[in-house]
């Protein structure tokens, strides 16, 4: 046995196939746990010292694992009654087809969510009444046939909602100007046009929030219709929204790099609150960057400021990470349960940075569009 490990040290220096064959066998023995402890230890030392051998072991290990997975998948498929052949091949080709299906599902869910939301919001919708659509059972069919119309319906809905807020804040002009600008710079392409329009109210809603004081924010959020079968209580920061805002103000330090560049931005933060109140799986996306004047950066400038976006994202995540533990959500029986939270952090150069939450489903849909557009 000792002689064997000696052979290995020789193989390092030769490309002779016989010795490579021996190397392969040794890797097999090593990975399969068939070496004596002594040999395994010396082989391990050898691997550590030889990068080429190291990558060979890694490759071989991964390949063996893949071989095993394929065989396991065949077993699983036969238990599932799917026949062995369908498995591996199906798994490989699955990705792309799934995307198409997903896109449709996402669209349908988003649209469905919107109409429920819309029902709450306004009776006097300028487009064909949403009730009519709701009555239809097959939302899917209608989504694929009249996708464009829906998009516009959404846009109108957002605008009408926006108007109320805008009047309060007296920034009517600014809003109109900006949305016009957006329309001019983007061409006839309906889809893209759409994105811009849904984005503009969003940015503005944001600004409005920054202008308004905390009390107003509080009111808006409490009035937001909760359509997601909410018999359960949501997770909260201990003491509630106001305390969370206080916490944010206390923790907020405007990051230096974007400040020096005169950049502001908005970050969407998503995380889980576990049943024992811990914050987990923080994820964030800085989907808007603005210049010192508060104007949204062009697509190009947005793309080229990846570092600032990441700094904003890190900062936003860090604040929420530090806010742990929370009061967990409760389920219908009143027991603490895992739940999810979505927040927005608005970085404002004039020291009015704030955090807020918005009506969820409408928001999900918007931010999804923006994420895709910005990539």
């Amino acid at each position: 046995m000792y002689g064997e490990s000696h052979t290995v040290s020789q193989t390092k220096f030769t490309t002779d196939m016989r010795s490579e064959l021996e190397t392969l066998e040794q890797i097999d023995q090593y990975l399969g746990g068939k070496m004596t402890a002594e040999n395994a230890a010396s082989f391990k030392a050898e691997i550590a010292a030889d990068p080429k051998l190291q990558s060979l072991v890694k490759d071989q290990q991964l390949l063996i694992q893949t071989v095993n997975r394929q065989a396991l998948m065949a077993e699983i498929n036969s238990v599932a009654g799917l026949g062995a052949a369908g498995g591996a091949a199906g798994a490989a080709g699955w990705g792309i087809a799934q995307w198409a299906i997903t896109a449709l599902v996402v669209a349908v869910v988003g649209v469905g969510g919107y109409f429920i939301y819309d029902n709450y919001q306004s009776e006097d919708l300028p487009v064909d009444s949403s009730e009519e659509f709701l009555a239809e059972n097959s939302v899917e069919e209608f989504a694929s046939d009249t996708g464009d119309i829906i998009s516009f319906a959404m846009e109108d809905g957002l605008d009408s909602e926006l108007e109320e807020e805008v009047i309060d804040a007296n920034v009517d002009h600014e809003v109109t100007d900006r949305s016009d600008g957006g329309n001019i710079s983007v061409d006839k392409n309906i889809d893209r046009n759409d994105n811009v329009n849904t984005m503009v109210p969003f940015v503005t809603a944001n600004d409005v929030n920054a202008v308004n004081n905390n009390e107003k924010d509080e009111k808006d959020l409490s009035q937001t219709p909760v359509h997601s079968v909410a018999k359960n209580r949501k997770a909260t920061y201990p003491g509630g929204l106001l305390k969370m805002k206080e916490f944010f103000k206390k923790e907020m330090r405007y990051p230096r790099t974007p400040r020096d560049k005169g950049l502001a931005g908005t970050v969407k933060v998503n995380f889980l609150v576990t049943a024992d109140g811990k914050i987990m799986e923080l994820a964030s996306n800085c989907f808007i960057l603005k210049d010192a004047e508060g104007l949204k950066l062009s697509q190009f400038k947005y793309s080229s400021n990846g570092k600032s976006r990441r700094i904003f994202e890190d900062k936003a995540e860090a604040i929420f990470r530090k806010s742990s533990p929370w009061t967990p959500a409760t389920n219908a029986e009143g027991n603490p349960t895992l739940s999810e939270q979505t927040w927005y952090v608005n970085f404002d150069l004039k020291g009015e940075s704030s955090i807020y939450q918005l009506e969820e489903d409408v928001l999900h849909d918007d931010s999804k569009i923006m994420i895709e557009r910005n990539q």
């Binding site: 196939m17 890694k58 390949l63 394929q70 998948m73 799934q98 299906i101 895992l338």
Partner: protein, 182 residues
Amino acid sequence: MTDNEIISALKSGHREAALKELYKEFPKIKVNILSSGGDEEIARHLFHDSLILLIEKVNKPDFKLTAKLSTFLYGINRFLWKNELRKRHRSPELEWKDTLILTADEIGYNEEKEEKMQVLEKVLNQVTEKCKKIFELFYFKKESMTDIAKKLEFSSVNSAKTQKYKCMEKAIQLAKQSLPQT
């Protein structure tokens, strides 16, 4: 079957009964996935992946069961579904009952590694049938090279070993072509 019976079956080569037992959990898991924007196909796909991750996990020498096995399986599925949703830029609330919240480390899931293995899966479809058979018999069924030489009608054990070596070399070479970073 008890959890321990399932685990020892998953460690042995006789997994069928254990897999059938675990498959009973699929309908409940599927409901959770369907209720947050998934469909039957993705549910089944993720469930199968979760079974593989479970088998790999169980076979690790340091594996200790700290919760009910079904709870652990739920946790893996929730993780995979969450991961899938993240790729789709969606993040609806996931309120799964009786589940564990598991991290990628706890499951033994590594995105980069998974991507490499997807490439290797394709590589394995490019090597000859005989190579695939040798790999499967040797690495999966853990048969000896002597038995494999007999079964696949090689003239000698050595020629079977040489063939295995050539197969491995070919597979790694193919993998290198598709995986520029390694």
